[in-house]
Amino acid sequence: MSTDHTADVPVLEVEGLTVEYVGAHRSVVAVKDVSFRIGAGEVFGLAGESGCGKSTVANALMRLLRDPAVITAGTIRYRGRDVLAMRPEELRAFRWKEVAMVFQSAMSSLNPVMTVGDQMADIFTTHEGLRRGEARRRAAELLELVKIDPSRLRAYPHQLSGGMRQRVVIAMAVALRPGLLIMDEPTTALDVVVQQEIMAQIGELQRELGFSILFITHDMSLMIEISHRMAVMYGGRLVETAPSRELFAHPEHPYTHALINAFPPLTGPRRELTALAEELRLGPIPDLEDRGSGHWVAPTVLATTPGGGA
């Protein structure tokens, strides 16, 4: 780990985070003992297949988990402040001001019966105590920042295209210049061309405003393009954490290897793709052991199927 981004004072430190879904008869551990740090201005990637707990981690960071999901262990520190110890009012002020989030689907994360302008102005009236008119003026500026005509403030979400909606959401996320932006699969629902536009936009904003990013995706090639360091998640655990290029060049964990091979690289020569299950089958992982220097773990049971059949 020799990236210059991991500065002395990290923006975010997550230590031993464990999230359980507490049921009446049994509990399910969705995230187990996850630790990572994000430095100032760093883009940290979190990769893994659907259902591995990525989004749960994202929601846990802002304490957005709903019952029955409960954080049962671990600490989350933002610039040294203990997020889990915050009182409700403190937490409310912390959200969006310090850590903002771009949700997976812009369509469903925008309120369908409120205008885009109202939903943007909300941020300023709440956090900066601005009057409506002033808040709307700031909202217009924000729209311009993501290259949308300010007249669209009066539009309802369903009147915008998918790419525009996502840009609106991104504009909202950077409204208060947060120190950390969580992006939970921000481009999954979009087509490839729009996806590229959005990614370029994010890159530009980040250069301009200098926030750190926690970037969550299952798309490994996209991840490697944009993140400095990344972690691979499987079954609620981080199986490998490393600088992206290093991890891409020498994946140490078989699952990382499989995940990389399942996506085409955005640059570089063409090659055959393999489906996750074709290359290896991961058995149940009843016991995980830390090995090596603590940034990767390997399942003790790893069944490699020869044929790939069931």
């Binding site: 957005l64 409310r92 959200r95 469903s108 994360s109 369908p112």
Partner: protein
């Protein structure tokens, strides 16, 4: 706009169905209740009045289509025949003199039940597990299980007869003449309390539970999580984001439940001898007053359809998604 026009067309169709139903009932039903009515009351009617009623009920010998066109015309122009039980007033006059009381009673009860019920539902959903959420719903379901009129009887007996807190019937005290004086208005209000309260009590549970459940469904929407992530204040999330959206199904069911409210109001009127159309309907049933029964049916239907149309217009204001469609 297209949405509004489509709804309007639908209501006109529904009204046409009701008129046709009214037309067909006396003509296709087995037995001849209408002749019984005539036999009972012919003595006091003029030949013209008899003739008009015969036409209304198909006891003339014109071809059916001709009867039908003249019937529809009569209904649309408000010629609903002569009331038997309130002879010799025309049906339209009888209804006109009483519909106001029904609107007052039903309207008051509806507004209170909807506003209070929905507010309780919002609060219950927001404070899931609170006292409001665990005690009130089962209680209201139980109260909602009683027939309107029985609860009305109980209220009348307890608060009217035994305790004597409220008048036991009618819309205002005997001896008062209707006028916009404070004395008359407050007299009307005291007469309104018991009947309105029973309707509110029976119907409020449905509103509360309906709102509570849509609120619960709404609070798991992504845009609520987003609003929470934005650090908005809880009451703003509750009213501006969650309740605003959860209100939409409530508005839709408002239209649908109007019929039930009207039915409840009519039965309650009967118990309290409240001089609205419901009470008149009972008199019509007892007096074999078929023209009045049918007239009340048509008037109530028209009122319900009209209110539904107004609700649709409100809905369009509330949900921008329909506006463009």
């Amino acid at each position: 706009m297209r949405f509004i026009l489509r709804r309007l067309g639908f209501y006109l169709l529904a009204f046409w169905v009701s008129i046709t139903l009214n037309f067909l009932l006396p003509r296709v039903m087995p037995g001849d209740p209408v002749s019984r009515m005539f036999a009972r009351s012919q003595g006091q009617m003029t030949p013209e009045q008899v003739d008009q009623l015969r036409k209304l009920f198909g006891l003339d010998h014109r071809p059916l289509w001709q009867q039908y066109t003249s019937y529809v015309h009569d209904m649309l122009t408000g010629h609903m025949g002569i009331s038997i039980s309130r002879f010799p007033s025309p049906v339209s006059e009888v209804i006109a003199s009483q519909i106001g009381w029904t609107l007052l009673l039903g309207g008051t009860a509806l507004v209170i039940a909807v506003v209070v019920g929905n507010l309780l539902g919002i609060l219950a959903a927001w404070r899931r597990g609170g006292v409001l959420d665990s005690v009130l719903p089962p209680l209201l379901v139980f109260i909602g299980s009683f027939p309107y009129f029985w609860l009305a009887m109980g209220a009348l007996y307890l608060f009217g007869v035994v305790l004597g807190w409220f008048p036991t019937g009618h819309a205002f005290s005997v001896g008062l003449t209707p006028a916009w004086t404070s004395e008359f208005v407050s007299d009307v209000a005291t007469h309104l309390v018991l009947p309105a309260a029973t309707i509110v009590l029976v119907s409020i549970g449905g509103w509360m539970l309906g709102m509570r459940n849509t609120m619960i469904a709404t609070t798991s929407e992504d845009y609520i999580v987003m609003a929470e992530a934005k650090g908005l204040r809880p009451h703003r999330i509750m009213f501006r984001y969650a309740a605003r959206n959860a209100m939409l199904p409530a508005v839709t069911s408002l239209g649908m439940s109007l019929g039930f409210i009207v039915g409840g109001a009519m039965l309650t009127e009967v118990v309290f001898a409240y001089p609205g159309v419901g009470y008149q309907l009972l008199a019509a049933v007892q007096g074999l007053d078929y023209p009045l029964m049918q007239g009340i049916f048509l008037t109530i239907t028209a009122a319900v359809l009209l209110t539904n149309f107004l609700v649709d217009i409100v809905y369009v204001r509330l949900d921008p998604r329909v506006r463009v469609a």
